[in-house]
């Protein structure tokens, strides 16, 4: 079975590059190949200029990898002991390990819990320790596989904040199925599905290419007064393509537009001048979900909460 095929991408130094895709798309397989844990059947891959098959030791020294799931730490050891051991595995001298451990525990907010066994940590704390472990040897390249999967919203926000701070010191490759996470964190993205990259670019470019309309929905209090003239004026706005009007207890207007920000500004200005009171506004810009839909022809299916990635 081919888990991935024909994948090709380059990640710029100091950027956060996202691999976005549903369960089983090939994200973890790609990460395992880049982190030398899986030898590709064909093709080549380089990390920081080193081939992942021929120069695996060099690749490993330059790479910090956070593997998905809630495992990967020694539960019977303290957070500090975990960091110390992984520092040793990367050949770091004792004094440097002590310094980095101190810095990282502070950075991920675990200083006060550093001496406690990891088994007593919450899921979010474990994931923050995972990130510290990934950074212990100051790798130029960091790969994060589903770093927020299974976390509660507050913990996920904390972890995302840590990830955002990694750039530009580290080049980050982030695998995620979370559209909002990818949109918020990534400089560039590759959307992967069934082992293929189906679209790539900045989040803005991907969303711009999505085959869906930008829309501004405005609901006014009561029926519009002078609706016909008002609709003509709105339809004539430079940013508006066309307009639809739904009559009800509170009239609703849908502006299909080129630029939703401009359409909203101009539309509201027109309505204020007419004396209409705005009750609700909704802006519908294309999302990465729309981009996925456009690239694959089917809707994005996020995994069930806490579900892992593909087994390979």
């Amino acid at each position: 079975m081919e888990a991935v095929r024909g994948i090709s991408f380059a990640v710029g130094r100091g950027t956060i590059f996202g691999i976005l895709g549903p369960n089983g798309a090939g994200k973890t397989t790609t990460i395992k190949m880049l982190s030398t844990l899986l030898i590709p059947t064909s093709g080549t891959a380089e990390v920081d200029g080193f081939d992942v098959v021929r120069d695996e030791v060099h690749v490993r020294r330059r790479l910090g990898v956070l593997f998905g799931g809630d495992k990967g730490l020694y539960n019977q050891l303290s957070g500090r002991e975990n960091l110390r051991y992984f520092g040793r595995l990367y050949g770091m001298p004792g004094d440097l390990i002590d310094r980095r451990t101190h810095e990282l525990l502070d950075q991920v907010g675990l200083t006060t819990r550093a001496k406690e066994r990891v088994e007593s940590y919450s899921r979010g704390m474990k994931q923050r320790l995972h990130i510290a472990k990934t950074l212990i040897h100051r790798p130029p390249v960091v790969i994060l596989d589903e770093p927020t999967i299974g976390l509660d919203p507050a913990a996920a926000i904390e972890v995302r904040s840590l990830i955002a701070d990694l750039s530009p010191e580290h080049t980050v490759m982030l695998s995620t199925h979370d559209m909002h996470e990818a949109d918020a964190l990534c400089t560039e993205l590759a959307i992967i599905d069934r082992g293929l990259i189906v679209a790539a670019g900045t989040p803005g470019e991907l969303k711009a290419a999505a085959p869906v309309d930008r829309q501004v929905l405005i609901e006014v209090v009561g029926p519009l007064v002078g609706a016909s003239a008002l609709l003509n004026e709105l339809a004539g706005l430079s940013s508006v393509l066309d307009i639809s009007h739904e009559v009800g207890a509170c009239d609703a207007l849908t502006l299909r537009c080129i630029d939703s920000t401009a359409a909203l500004d101009q539309g509201l200005a027109v309505l204020r001048r007419s004396g209409a009171s705005v009750r609700a506004i909704e802006v519908r810009d294309p999302t990465l979900e729309d981009a996925f839909l456009g690239a694959t022809g089917r809707a994005f299916e996020p995994p069930a909460s806490g579900a892992g990635e593909d087994p390979r």
Partner: protein, 281 residues
């Protein structure tokens, strides 16, 4: 695929591996910290050898056998118990450690680090052996209590034989380490490896009692020669000069296991990474 493609020249260290000795020490420490946190393991360690020794002693006593292959029976059993402890440490510490990493979910992080896997296996072996030191002491004390006739005339020779026993077991541990990486039935594999050596290495029955063909198989194992050296130094008062043949045979067979094990580990590591089964239970 290329991650972090840049025009920046990265300096490649001339020696890609980190200090392997430090990895061994750190891994041994991790082993001790993990197992020392388990009270059952701490209690079970010394209690097991005491009970086993007592059982075999009573069995020999009931049969009226005071000598084994011309050696004091109780002393023979104590030496066998030392061999058992060191060998068990090897199987359940060194080899099985990789499976423990898989269960713990840390195997990917360990393999993705640039150290040699053999250093991690060695570290677990050392940690396991250190963890078993109290059991070793209990075995010796039990031997004294049961009236073992120890005749150590050259303590340095006895110590050297004991160290050889440890060293050869570590070599065997590395020899079999790759199998644990490949196998997903680590408990069965551990038991499979553990049992036959009890017989072949002459822990509780003398090797001289083995049929000829089995004696030949026994000769292939470094641990058999190390135990022979221990018998001679601890129960017959042999000096270093008198155990060179056993030490030489231990060294030679250990090197074969070590070399084969290192090559096998690299090969099996490659196989597992091609199959993508490294972290699968």
């Amino acid at each position: 695929m290329s991650v972090a493609r840049s025009s920046v020249t990265v300096k490649t260290p001339s020696r890609p591996g980190p200090g392997q000795a430090r990895v061994v020490v750190a891994t041994a420490r991790v082993f001790l910290l993990r197992f020392a946190s388990n009270p059952i393991m701490v209690i079970r360690g010394p209690l097991g050898p005491f009970l086993v020794l007592l059982t075999f002693h009573l069995a020999y006593d009931v049969s009226g056998q005071e000598q084994v292959a011309g050696l004091d029976a109780t002393g023979f059993l104590v030496v066998g118990m030392l061999g058992t402890l060191v060998w068990s440490s090897t199987v359940w510490g060194a080899g099985n450690a990789l499976q423990a990493e898989i269960y713990q979910g840390t195997i990917s992080a360990v393999v993705a680090a640039p150290q040699r896997l053999s250093s991690v296996i060695l570290g677990y072996g050392v940690g396991s052996m250190l963890f078993n030191l109290p059991a070793l002491a209990v075995s010796i004390v039990t031997g004294f209590l049961l009236g073992a006739d120890f005749r150590i005339e050259h303590p340095a020779a006895a110590l050297l034989a004991l160290l050889c026993l440890y060293a050869c077991c570590l070599c065997i541990g590395i020899g079999f380490g790759g199998l644990f990486l490949l196998s997903r039935q680590s408990n069965a594999l551990s038991n499979f490896l553990q049992g036959p050596v009890y017989l072949l290495a002459g822990f509780f029955v003398p090797r001289s009692a083995l049929p000829d063909w089995l004696h030949l198989v026994s000769d292939v194992l470094p641990i058999s020669h190390a135990v022979d050296a221990l018998h001679k130094t601890v129960l017959s008062g042999a000096s270093v000069g008198q155990i060179w043949p056993q030490l030489g045979a231990t060294a030679l067979t250990s090197l074969i296991f070590l070399a084969g094990g290192m090559a096998g580990l690299r090969r099996l590591d490659d196989v597992v990474r091609r199959r993508g089964t490294l972290d699968l239970l």
